[in-house]
């Protein structure tokens, strides 16, 4: 039965006819893309994209493929959770990929083993200081701390200097990459301890991504922090006149984004068992793309964690789908670019239509 008690002043509202949430469109797009790959697979490859076709494996679905789809987007997905919050405030963060590199290099240096095959690992960054075989909590704390400091600098620049977020985080993007190269003069940092290697092993990245996604979904929906994040993106002047400490809040949002990039760095370097100055290249753009595909508005005020997670899934499905169809990586990139632009165009078109109808 329709509940009709949301209105006031004698007007009623039929809640059963409430319009679908914006995420519904993204979810439908995700299903459609999966169906397209399934059909193309049946037609061109004589194989199924989604379902299990191997006789020696049990189960309805191709579980291995589903795992890969989620696994390959979960690390950038962690970054996208922070980027989503920044974009909701009306800002942008271009520095995430570089923060990943710098953080991974520094954190990994505190996670190296002292011995390899019975020989001293003299190439460990802090071998001479004796900082090898440290408890895993130390590199984790260092990694989170690095991300946090980088994000804090972004936030302070954006909130208190008045330079556009695009420029502030572009500066961080270049500088953090510099830090990553300077740290070991360009040498990769490898041979982490077993406990560090466990952080990103197997499906761990997916679990971490899922946990953080649920956490920040709840935070954005149900806390004052979330409400003020949307309010600032919707109308900064109104937020300020309502007594929200806008500058301080922005610092917090960018700091959280940096922190999440730091977490992604830990997971990525652990998964790869090595950290390199060139890692995380262009991750910031993929993270922004996930948020955009998930229906976020680059003007701020609109978007959600759920949308971004769905956007990440679309991303993963497309990459896997192209691999499945044995298409070259070049095509992947071209199509990825087209989808990003398409998502923004679609959003603008939707908003214009809504504005005209006003």
């Amino acid at each position: 039965m329709a509940e009709a008690s949301h209105g006031i002043g004698g007007l009623t509202f039929d809640t059963s006819k409430r319009s679908l949430p914006p995420e519904a469109g993204v979810a439908i797009a995700l299903v459609l893309i999966v169906v397209i790959f399934e059909l193309l697979g049946r037609l061109l490859m004589n194989d199924s994209f989604l379902f299990n076709t191997r006789e020696n494996v049990d189960g309805l679905f191709n579980v291995a493929r589903l795992q890969i789809i989620i696994l390959q987007v979960s690390i950038i997905g962690i970054i996208a959770l922070g980027v989503t919050q920044v974009i909701i405030t009306g800002g942008i963060d271009l520095s995430s990929g570089s923060i990943v590199a710098a953080t991974a290099m520094i954190a990994m240096s505190f996670a190296q083993v002292g011995e390899i095959n019975g020989l001293e690992n003299t190439r460990a960054v802090f071998f001479e200081q004796g900082l090898v075989d440290l408890p895993v909590i130390l590199p984790i704390a260092v990694g989170i701390g690095c991300g946090l400091v980088a994000g804090l600098i972004n936030g302070l620049l954006v909130a208190y200097t008045g330079i556009p977020p695009f420029i502030a985080t572009l500066g961080m993007m270049v500088s953090a990459r510099g830090v990553a190269k300077w740290w070991t003069a360009g040498q990769p940092v490898s041979f982490p301890t077993e406990s560090y290697a466990a952080i990103g092993a197997g499906m761990m990245p997916v679990f971490i991504f899922a946990f953080l996604a649920i956490l920040f979904h709840l935070i954005l929906r149900h806390t004052v922090y979330g409400k003020h994040t949307y309010a600032i993106g919707s109308s900064e002047a109104a937020a300020r006149m309502s007594g929200i400490k806008v500058a301080r809040h922005k610092v917090l949002v960018y700091t959280i984004a940096g922190l999440l990039a730091g977490v992604a760095a830990l997971v990525l370097s652990s998964k790869n068992l090595t950290a390199q100055a060139g890692m995380g290249m262009m991750y910031e753009l993929d993270a922004i793309a996930m948020a955009v595909i998930g229906g976020i508005s680059l003007q701020g005020g609109r978007g959600s964690i759920l949308g971004t997670v769905l956007g990440a899934m679309i991303f993963g499905v497309i990459i896997s789908g192209f691999t499945f169809l044995r298409l070259d990586a070049y095509y992947q990139e071209m199509v990825k670019g087209a989808i990003i632009v398409g998502a923004v165009v679609l959003d603008q078109w939707r908003q214009r239509r809504a504005a005209i109808g006003k």
Binding site: K227, A238, R240, M241
Partner: protein, 277 residues
């Protein structure tokens, strides 16, 4: 309460008002605001007593909104002194002014388009639980929705669904949300900038009733309005602004509509404000 307090909240030395504050809730002395070369507000002396309803009138661009922005610390004044509720005050920002007890309906309404009605009503002072979580304290959506319903019913506005975002609501609905926001929270001084500008006949009447209720409860109000009938109906006193200056201070009993218009247009200026003209 002592009539002439000379310390501010932190106990530091602060300018002393030369006449006793007594039951004056807000006093400004020499309040001035320049925007670069624009002298939007010049040497403004203004006061309002507890329980008093004062109207500010003046042509477009006379400096009325500018005055409100200085009182509420949305902007920082160029010069001048302000006393509020027995204290000399220099608010850092709108939150401080609001916490001190000044509630304002701004001309721009200060609403966030992408949020729904209860969110806007409680923006900046949400009902929360688990307050020890600091910025991550949890919103009490149910409590806010209930209070919103009660606050809005007083304005008589009709809104089909409180959980719709307000971006597509009508001008009057938005205005009622802004007014309900002010009426929901008890304050020491209420300021309304053109509260009924976008309202229909019925809604205007309801909002005027809200203002009358404030009067009965002894809550002082500064009403900025271009509506002469409304001002004459609701206010005890009318202060007229012209080109950033106060040019007249009229008791309602001693004036009428034509007289006020003469001051607004510059046909007349009170002798004590002669140097302002």
């Amino acid at each position: 309460m002592a009539s002439d307090i000379q310390t501010n909240l932190s106990g530091a030395e602060a300018p002393k008002s030369d006449t006793q504050l007594g039951d004056v809730i807000l006093r400004t002395k020499g309040l001035t605001k320049h925007y670069g070369g624009v002298h939007a507000l010049v040497d403004c002396n203004f006061e309002i007593r507890k329980g008093e309803h004062v109207a500010i009138m003046g042509d477009n661009g006379a400096g009325k909104s500018t005055f409100v922005r200085q009182i509420t610390a949305v902007e920082q004044r160029t010069a001048g002194k302000v006393w509020f509720d027995g204290q000399y005050v220099e608010f850092d920002g709108p939150l401080e002014a609001r916490e001190a007890g000044i509630e304002t309906v701004f001309q721009t309404l200060a609403l966030a388009d992408h949020l729904d009605v209860p969110d806007n009503l409680f923006l900046g002072r949400e009902k929360t639980r688990f307050d020890w979580l600091g910025p991550f304290r949890v919103l009490d959506y149910k409590g806010m929705r209930e209070a919103t319903r009660q606050g809005l019913e007083k304005t008589g506005v009709k809104i089909p669904n409180l959980s719709n975002t307000i971006q597509y609501m009508s001008g009057g609905q938005r205005q009622c949300v802004a007014i309900a926001r002010t009426a929901t929270f008890h304050s020491k001084l209420t300021i309304m900038v053109e509260p009924t500008a976008a309202l229909g006949v019925q809604e205007t009447e309801q909002v005027e009733n809200i203002i009358r209720t404030l009067k009965e409860q002894g809550e002082p109000l500064i009403l900025i309005s271009h509506n002469m009938r409304q001002v004459m109906d609701l206010c005890d006193r009318i202060v007229v602004w012209r080109r950033g200056r106060v040019v007249a201070n009229l008791r309602k009993e001693e004036t009428d509509g034509q007289d006020v218009v003469a001051y607004i247009t510059g046909a007349k200026t009170q002798p004590e404000y002669a140097d302002a003209a």
